[in-house]
C-alpha cells in the first residue's frame, strides 16, 4: 500500500509559527544528523537536534514544546554552521523557546538563582540567561 504524506496533511499552525519565528523551512531537513553530531549538549537532550527537525516536519510541535531539548540548547550555533542545507537549527530551537516563553512556560526569575550564584555570576551571564529564558 502506498502512503502519501504531503505538507498539506501534516502542516499545522504551530509549524507555521516555528517557520515564521525562525525564518526557516523545516522541510529542508533530510536527516543527515550533522547537527546532532556536532552538538555539545546532545548528551543532555531528550530529542537530538535532528529529531527535533523531524518532529517539526511531522507537525508534532506540541510534543517538542513539552520536551527538554530547547532548554538545554546553549545557542552555540554549531548545528546551524554545519547544516549542509543551510538550516538555522539553532533558530528553530529559539522559536520553540520563544513560543513557550510567551506562554510563560520555562520562564526564569531571580528567585530561581541561588544566593551564592547571584553574588558571583557576572552581568554577562545574568543578562544572557534572562534574555534567553524570560521573554
Amino acid at each position: 500500500m502506498t502512503v502519501s504524506i504531503t505538507r498539506k496533511d501534516i502542516k499545522n499552525e504551530l509549524v507555521d509559527k516555528i517557520e515564521l519565528l525562525s525564518g526557516q523551512n523545516v522541510f529542508e531537513c533530510y536527516q543527515c544528523g550533522n547537527c546532532s553530531s556536532g552538538c555539545p549538549m546532545v548528551d543532555y537532550m531528550d530529542y537530538t537536534p535532528n529529531q527535533v527537525m523531524r518532529l517539526a516536519q511531522t507537525g508534532a510541535i506540541e510534543e517538542l514544546l513539552a520536551a527538554g531539548t530547547m532548554w538545554v540548547c546553549a545557542a552555540c550555533l554549531q548545528c546551524s554552521s554545519r547544516c549542509p542545507k543551510g538550516i538555522d537549527v539553532a533558530g528553530v530551537m529559539e522559536a520553540l523557546r520563544t513560543i513557550n516563553l510567551r506562554n510563560r512556560v520555562g520562564v526564569i526569575t531571580p528567585d530561581d538563582i541561588s544566593t551564592e550564584d547571584r553574588r558571583e555570576l557576572p552581568p554577562i551571564v545574568l543578562v544572557s540567561a534572562f534574555r534567553k529564558l524570560s521573554g
Binding site: 546553549a74 522559536a95 552581568p123 543578562v127 534574555r131
Partner: protein, 292 residues
Amino acid sequence: MQLPYYPGCTLKNHAKHFEDSAIAAMERLDMPLVEMEDWVCCGTVFSMSSDDLMLQVASIRNLVRAEHQNLSELIVLCSMCYNTLRRASDFILSDPENLDKVRKFMYLEEKPFDGTVEILHLLSVLRDRIGWEELGRKVVRPLANLKVGGYYGCLLVRPEKYAIDDFEAPTIIEDLLGALGATASPYPYRLECCGAYQTVTNKDVTVQRTYELLNSARNAGCEAIVTSCPLCAFNLDQRQRETIEQFPDFDPMPVFYFTELMALAFGANWDPEWTKLHFVNPEPILRDKGLI
C-alpha cells in the same frame, strides 16, 4: 592612531583585568583604546526570533550613539558584544525595511541615524592593521616556553558570516600567541561551546563541559588557555571550583584573556589586582616562565 572602543558590561567589573590589560597592551602598540561615551549593555545575545524588534534596540542604540559621536568604527573586546553588535549592525544595514522599522521604533533618538558604524573585534584589528610580524617585533618580553591554547568558543566564529577567521579552522588566536613568543597548541575542543548561559540553569552541564574542554587542551600539551569572552572565562575558570569537587582526577588550568598575555609580552607589568579576578591563580605559571 586611537581606536574607539566599546567595553560592554562585564569588562567594568568581573573582567576588569580584560579591559585593563587591553588598554595597557594597546598603549604600548601606540594604538590607545579610547572608550566611546554613553554606551549601554549590548544585550549579550542576538535575538534569533524574527519578530523580536525590542531585543535589537539595546545593541542598535550603541550603534546610533557611536554614529552621533562621529565614530566610523567600534573596536570590541568581548566575543559576545562583538557578535551581538555586529549582527545588529547587519540587521539594519542588510535590509532597508528593518532600518525603517527600527527608526520608527526609536523615534526619540535626538538625531536621525543610518547605522553605519563598523564593528570590529580587537583580534582582527591586530591581524589586519598591524600584522603578526610587526607585532612580533614589538615584543619585549617573549612568552618563551609558555604552552598555551587558544579558546575560540562560539561567537568569534559563528555564524560563518560574522566569523573573524575561518569558521571551522581559525588560526587568529594561535597566530597572535605565536607572535608573542608562546607555543600555541591547537586542541580538538577549541571551537566547542562552554555551555554559555546554561551555567545558570544547568550548572552541572557546564562543569562537565569545563572538564572536557580543559582536558582536551591539557592532552594537546597546553598549560593554560586564552579566551576573549567573559562568559567563557567564567565557565572555564570560576567553574573549575565545582570541576575540582566533581572530578578528582581534574588538574586545574589557568585561563587568561588574550590581552593579559599581550600586555606582558609588550612590557607591561602584571597587576596583582588581575590575579584576584582569576579563580585558578595564574601567577605560578607566569613566575615559572620568568614573566613576572
